[in-house]
Amino acid sequence: MSYKADDIMDVCLLAGEIMLKYGAETYRVEETLERMARAASFSNVHCFATTTGIFLSFEEKKEKEDLMQMVRIDDRMQDLNKVTEVNQVSREFVSGIISVNDAREKLEQIAKAPMQYPLWLIHLAAGVAGSGFSYLFGGGWFDLIPAFLAAMVSSLVVVEFERYLKVRFAAEFTAAFCGGTTAILLVFIGLGNSLDQIIIGSLMPLVPGVPLTNAVRDLMSGDLLAGVSRGAEALLTSLAIASGIALTISIFV
C-alpha cells in the first residue's frame, strides 16, 4: 500500500481536527494520527497536539524532504458521538478495510453531519437531569417540577446566547443567572420548597464534564500542556457559573 503523502496528511489532520473539536482527549488524537500515518507506511511520524492545535510531521521517502503541517482549532464543543465515529473510521483505515478516499469521504460526512440528538431533546434532557440531581442532592418529590423548569431555562439560555456571544464564559454566566432567577421566582410563587436544591439542579446541565475528565486524563498521560489548559477551561467555566448564581442570590434573596 502506498499513498500520496499529501492525501494522507489531509485525511489525518481532518480526523484530528474533528476529534479535538468535539471533545476527545489529546493523547487519543496524537495516537490516532500516528497510527494512521504509520499504517500508510510512512516513517518518522510525530504528532503534537494541544487543546487548540495539532502539528503532524512524517517522512515520505528517505531522500525526500519531510512533510509538516498544522491545523488550528478555534471551537471546542461537546459531541462525543462524532469522536466515536472518527475513532471507528481510523480503526478501519489502520486495519486496511477502507482506502484513503473512503476514509476522507466518511470523515467529511461526519464533519458535516448535524447533531445526533435534536435540540429540543437536549433541552428536555437538561431538565430531566437537573430535576433528577435536585432530588439526589436532598430535594423532595415536589421540587422535581420547578427544578425541571429551571434547568431547562438554563440549558435554553446557554445554547441561545452562545450563538451571539463570542466570549465563551459570558453565556454560562448568563445561563446560571437566568436559571437561578427562574428557580427563585418559582419558589416565590409557591412551586417547590427547598430553594437550594432547586438551584443546584438548575446548574447541573452547565457542569463542564468533558473538559474536567479530559484534563485529568491528559495530565496523567503526560500531556502537561494540554491538561493544564483544559483544567483552566473547566475552572473558568465553573467560576462563571458560580459568579452568575452569586449575582442572582445577592439581588433576589
Partner: protein
Amino acid sequence: MEVIAQLLITFIATVAFGIIFSVPKRALLIGGAIGMVTWGVLQGGLYFGASSVFSTAVASLTAAAAAHFLARRIRIPVTTLAIPGILPLVPGSRAYFTMLSFVEGDYLRGLEFGVETMLRAGAIAAGLVFALAIFSYGKGIGHRYEPNR
C-alpha cells in the same frame, strides 16, 4: 424503597446527561447503568461509615474501571462511558454551599465547604487515575530510569 427510587432517578438523570454530551446511542443505557452503580457504591460506602471523600474515591474507581472494561468490549472511546459514569459524584451541592457562604459573608464556613469540594473533586480524579493505571498495566516503560536497556 427510598434506595430503589434514588437508583432509578440516578439512572434516568445519567442517561439524560448522556444526551446532553451527545453520547452515541448504543452507549447511552450502559452509561446510565454505570452511573447507577456509582451512586450505589457511594451510598453503600456512606452507609458503612466511610468518609465522604473515601466513598467518592471508591465509587469513582468503580465507575472508571467499569467504563474501561465495557468500552473495550463494545469498542468505543472510554470517555463516552466514563463521563456519564462519574457524574453522580460531582460535588454540586458542596460547591453551591461554598459559594452561598461566601456571598453571605461567612468566609470560615465557605472555606470549610470549599475544602470538602476540592477534596471530593480530587477523589474523583484519583479514582480515574487508579483505573487507568490498572487497565494500562504492562505498558509502562519506566519514568526515571530505563531498566530494560
